[in-house]
């Protein structure tokens, strides 16, 4: 049985949906009942709308849920074009897509500056406005009575035969889902999920949050526009009642039921909802209750929807059949897993930087320099300003005075993603790892902006895209071998224990060959063996030429690893020097390490008395 499963799994996964698509195309030749073809057509149209929701809500994590308004925009655009004499279907579909795109971006604007609730409510409000806007232009749109002046569609001047709409709908849907699938099953899909996990994380790997969100809204809006054009030409009638809040709730329910973070889940969810809609009118009364129940159950229990359940089931069978996880990829001949190819590091120079939050002076005139090929450690008690300094370097705060330069270029006022692209990479105190992606994909997300392949090449799977993908995988293998995680290539990253997730963050930071690497308390929470491994990895990174900045509390690790130590206290630099100098510096002991025994000789010059203190 499992052998059969293994054989089935050898077939590329896209073959199965392709077969379903083929079946849909071939179905009319079997002379099915009218209800069946109508049901399928409506399901496919709804699936297009739901797929848009999956992109913006599921993959990008944006509560841009007003797809129904874009659906309406598409339908009326197509309808109005047709009424005006432009009956070419392809023109209408393109125009509808464009109209939906504009609506999608405009309604997405609140989401660019604000949070999810404002975005959700604004997009829902738009759905509420559809009948009002239609009524406002009642002369052209036919108002609440509907637009009945739509003429039969043509393609390239040829009138379409009656049953040809079925094929048009099927072909458009198949093409769109192929595009959708190609986008999310590529580095762009990973990028969306990175954005969904945390915009801070997205900026730190160089992604422009603004542009990525806009792209998410745009791609999520377009299929709804296509769906509208198809609906208008299917029934030759458009009425605002089709775009009600009831419909919006149904679309959301379909997305959640099928699985928001899935491609084909949209089709499944749409088929269930459309099936329900088509039942007897007594069912229609229960429709709202069902939609609400889907949303409740989907949100609370069925996280990931039916697609999520299927994925878990498939993984279980794969594991039982021994075909997953795949064995670690063979290393390229001659490659030494223990060393990293040289990286062109850059010096980080912080000059006289000050930052105050209201009345709290977090940093006062701090200067430091981190050389490439050296480990510079930044230590100090909590509240000394280490995190503030780190966030200033990464661009999450603006400094009040002073300059910060990376390899000679000033980062003056640059946004976090630009600074990341200048070559500053970092890890986080709590590892930010998106769920649902593999270890290799996490590393690949680190190079999203350093090696580019646009959406179009992803959709077409062009040679350029394949080259970039090969480089992605090669680099992932390389850095994962360095940090010792190569055997976990395919494992879902979010399931790893803390120590491995820390190392994974280091690997992701290395993916784009950064000039400066900032490690934010990378050793906290690790046991001794893991700290040793981390130290070894940091040494290799240093030897490769990167400028490593280590923010640490683990003094032993700092002493053994650092070439230069900077001690911060109460917002200013207390001392700096080599490990030996710092270790014996009385001021450092006093301020940070805490114990000064009465019998200790003062080793620091100029210190008059050594106060007796108990260990802090």
């Amino acid at each position: 049985m499992l052998a059969l499963w293994a054989a089935v799994r050898k077939v590329p996964t896209w073959v199965f949906p392709a077969v379903v698509g083929l079946v849909v195309l071939v179905l009319p030749s079997l002379q099915p009942a009218y209800e069946v073809t109508r049901q399928i057509q409506l399901t496919l149209i709804l699936a297009l709308v739901v797929s848009g929701l999956n992109i913006s809500l599921g993959y990008s994590g944006q509560l841009a849920i007003g797809q129904v308004a874009m659906y309406a925009a598409g339908a009326y655009t197509a309808g109005l074009l047709s009424s005006a004499g432009h009956t070419d279907l392809l023109l209408q579909i393109a125009a509808a897509g464009l109209a939906a795109l504009v609506v999608g971006i405009v309604t997405g604007i609140p989401g660019l500056r604000l949070g999810s609730w404002s975005l959700a409510m604004t997009s829902f409000f738009l759905v509420l406005l559809v009948p009002d806007i239609v009524e406002l232009f009642a002369e052209e749109t036919g108002g609440h009575l509907g637009l009945a002046t739509i003429m039969p569609p043509t393609i390239f001047g040829q009138a379409l035969p009656d049953d040809a709409m079925y094929y048009v709908i099927a072909v458009v849907t198949i093409i769109w889902f192929a595009v959708f699938r190609n986008v999310v099953a590529s580095r762009h899909g990973i990028a969306f999920q990175v954005l969904k996990q945390s915009p801070v994380l997205a900026s730190s790997v160089g992604m422009s949050v603004f542009r990525t969100k806009l792209t998410g809204y745009a791609i999520g809006a377009v299929p709804a526009g296509f769906a509208g054009a198809l609906l208008a030409n299917l029934d030759l009638f458009v009425t605002p009642e089709a775009f009600s809040f009831h419909m919006a709730t149904g679309t959301l329910a379909a997305s959640i039921l099928g699985g928001s973070v899935s491609v084909y889940g949209a089709i499944f969810g749409a088929s269930v909802v459309e099936f329900g809609n088509n039942q007897s009118s007594s069912f229609a009364e229960y429709a709202l209750v069902f939609f609400g129940a889907f949303l409740l159950i989907g949100g609370v229990l069925l996280r990931g929807g039916v697609a999520g359940l299927l994925r878990t089931g498939i993984r279980r069978l794969d594991r039982a059949a021994g075909i997953w996880p795949r064995p670690a990829p063979a290393l390229a001949a001659g490659g030494d897993p223990a060393t990293l190819p040289p990286i062109e590091g850059g010096a980080l120079e912080v000059k006289d930087v000050a930052k105050a939050f209201g009345g709290n002076q977090a940093l006062r005139g701090v200067s430091l320099r981190a050389e490439p090929g050296k480990v510079t450690a930044l230590i100090g008690p909590n509240g000394s300003g280490k995190t503030t300094l780190l966030n200033l370097i990464c661009g999450f705060y603006r400094r009040d005075t002073g300059t910060i330069t990376v390899a000679g270029s000033s980062i003056d006022g640059a946004s976090p993603h630009r600074i990341a692209r200048l070559g500053v990479a970092r890890t986080f105190q709590t590892p930010l790892i998106p769920p649902g992606v593999s270890v290799a994909e996490v590393v690949i997300s680190g190079r999203y902006t350093s090696d580019r392949a646009g959406f179009l090449s992803a959709v077409l799977r062009s040679p350029k895209f394949r080259r970039v993908r090969r480089r992605d995988l090669a680099r992932a293998e390389e850095v994962l071998s360095l940090v010792g995680l190569a055997h976990l290539f395919d494992i879902e990253a979010a399931t790893l224990p803390l120590g491995q997730r820390r190392m994974l963050e280091v690997a992701r930071a290395l993916a784009r060959e950064p000039k400066v690497l900032l490690l934010d308390e990378a050793a906290s929470g690790l046991d001794e063996a893991e700290v040793e491994t981390l130290a070894t990895v940091i040494r290799r990174i240093r030897d490769a030429g990167c400028a490593v900045i280590l923010v640490e509390h683990n003094f032993g690790l700092v002493l053994s690893l650092a070439d230069h130590i900077v001690v911060l206290a109460r917002g200013g630099v207390l001392a700096e020097g080599s490990p030996a100098e710092i270790e014996s510096d009385v001021r450092v002991r006093d301020e940070y390490l805490g114990i000064v025994e009465p019998g200790d000789e003062p080793t620091d010059e100029g210190s008059a008395t050594v106060p007796e203190r108990t260990a802090r």
């Binding site: 994590g61 509560l63 609140p110 500056r113 604000l114 949070g115 999810s116 609730w117 404002s118 959700a120 409510m121 604004t122 829902f124 409000f125 738009l126 509420l128 406005l129 009948p131 009002d132 806007i133 009524e135 406002l136 009642a138 945390s198 915009p199 801070v200 809040f245 709730t249 959301l252 329910a253 959640i256 009364e285 229960y286 429709a287 709202l288 209750v289 069902f290 939609f291 609400g292 129940a293 889907f294 949303l295 409740l296 159950i297 989907g298 949100g299 609370v300 996280r303």
Partner: protein, 287 residues
């Protein structure tokens, strides 16, 4: 002036929705999309009690409060507590609200139900109004004052605010966070039942009420700022007045239903210009 009274009274309804949102937001930093639907249920229970069963006024109010409080408690258990992140909470509360609308449709149908409280119109300061309109405005203001006093002077209220600022710290100080969040939700239900019952004569009990109130109540919230009671009040009155004025002066000219559009424009303006609202102490989560 009649217009002003109409605007203030419907504005009071929006403000009441915003107050409900605010209480839940202060208590558990979550957004209860079903708030307006809870009020809608209150309106229907008031209809059932007053018109169908011909109960006395006080009994009707009490019944509405108790029923909606029970439903709100249920919502807290199944739609809010099991869900940890806020995006999903919007979806689960939306789901719960949708179920409420569906159930209301099943029980009472889709036609508006009139709750006639049978009192004569009054003439106040040159404008005509009905006592229920005045009652709504008074109720909204009274609630805001009462809540503000409660959260500033009473232990329970202070604990609530403490909990919303830092849940861990509140727990360490002995605040039973779970119970308090649950209690806050139940109280929201109690208030929603009262608000729904009082608004029923003005807005009628219709199942489509829930969504429109939910969205416009959110605009009131956005204008006033998340977490600010007075802000919600002012926001509500603002959009109530805008709606009435637009309806009277623009709609008759252009013969179209513009009030929703005008409120949407107000929403966009607020979100673009002052996203935290007029009195927003709490910035809405941007990450």
């Amino acid at each position: 002036m009649t217009l002003i009274y109409a605007g203030l009274s419907i504005g009071a309804v929006y403000a009441l929705v915003a107050i409900g949102y605010n209480i839940v937001f202060i208590a558990s930093h979550s957004f209860n999309f079903a708030q307006a639907q809870l009020m809608m249920i209150g309106a229907f229970v008031a209809y059932a009690g007053y018109v169908t069963f011909k109960l006395p006024l006080v009994a009707v109010l009490a019944l509405a409060m108790v029923v909606v409080a029970a439903i709100a408690a249920l919502e807290e258990r199944i739609a809010i507590r099991p869900v940890s992140d806020h995006q999903t909470q919007l979806i689960t509360t939306l789901g719960f609200g949708t179920v409420l609308t569906g159930v209301a449709q099943l029980i009472w149908g889709t036609q508006p139900k009139e709750v006639r409280v049978g009192v004569e119109p009054l003439s106040v300061l040159g404008g005509r109004t009905v006592p229920i309109e005045i009652a709504l405005v008074v109720l909204a203001i009274a609630l805001v004052v009462a809540i503000n006093i409660y959260t500033r002077r009473r232990m329970g209220g202070l604990a609530l605010v403490a909990m919303s600022q830092d849940e861990e710290a509140a727990t360490l100080r002995g605040v039973d966070v779970r119970k308090l969040a649950f209690a806050a939700f139940a109280v929201t239900g109690l208030l929603a039942g009262l608000m729904g019952a009082v608004m029923a004569p003005r807005t009628f009990a219709i199942t489509t009420l829930g969504t429109a109130l939910a969205l416009k109540g959110f605009v009131a919230l956005a204008i006033g700022g998340f977490g600010s009671m007075w802000g919600g009040l002012i926001g509500g009155f603002t959009i109530g007045l805008v709606e009435q004025l637009v309806g009277r002066y623009l709609e008759t000219r252009l013969d179209a239903h513009l009030s929703n559009l005008s409120i949407f424009v107000v929403l966009l303006l607020v979100l673009m210009i002052k996203p935290t609202g007029l009195f927003g102490r709490v910035q809405e989560r941007t990450v």
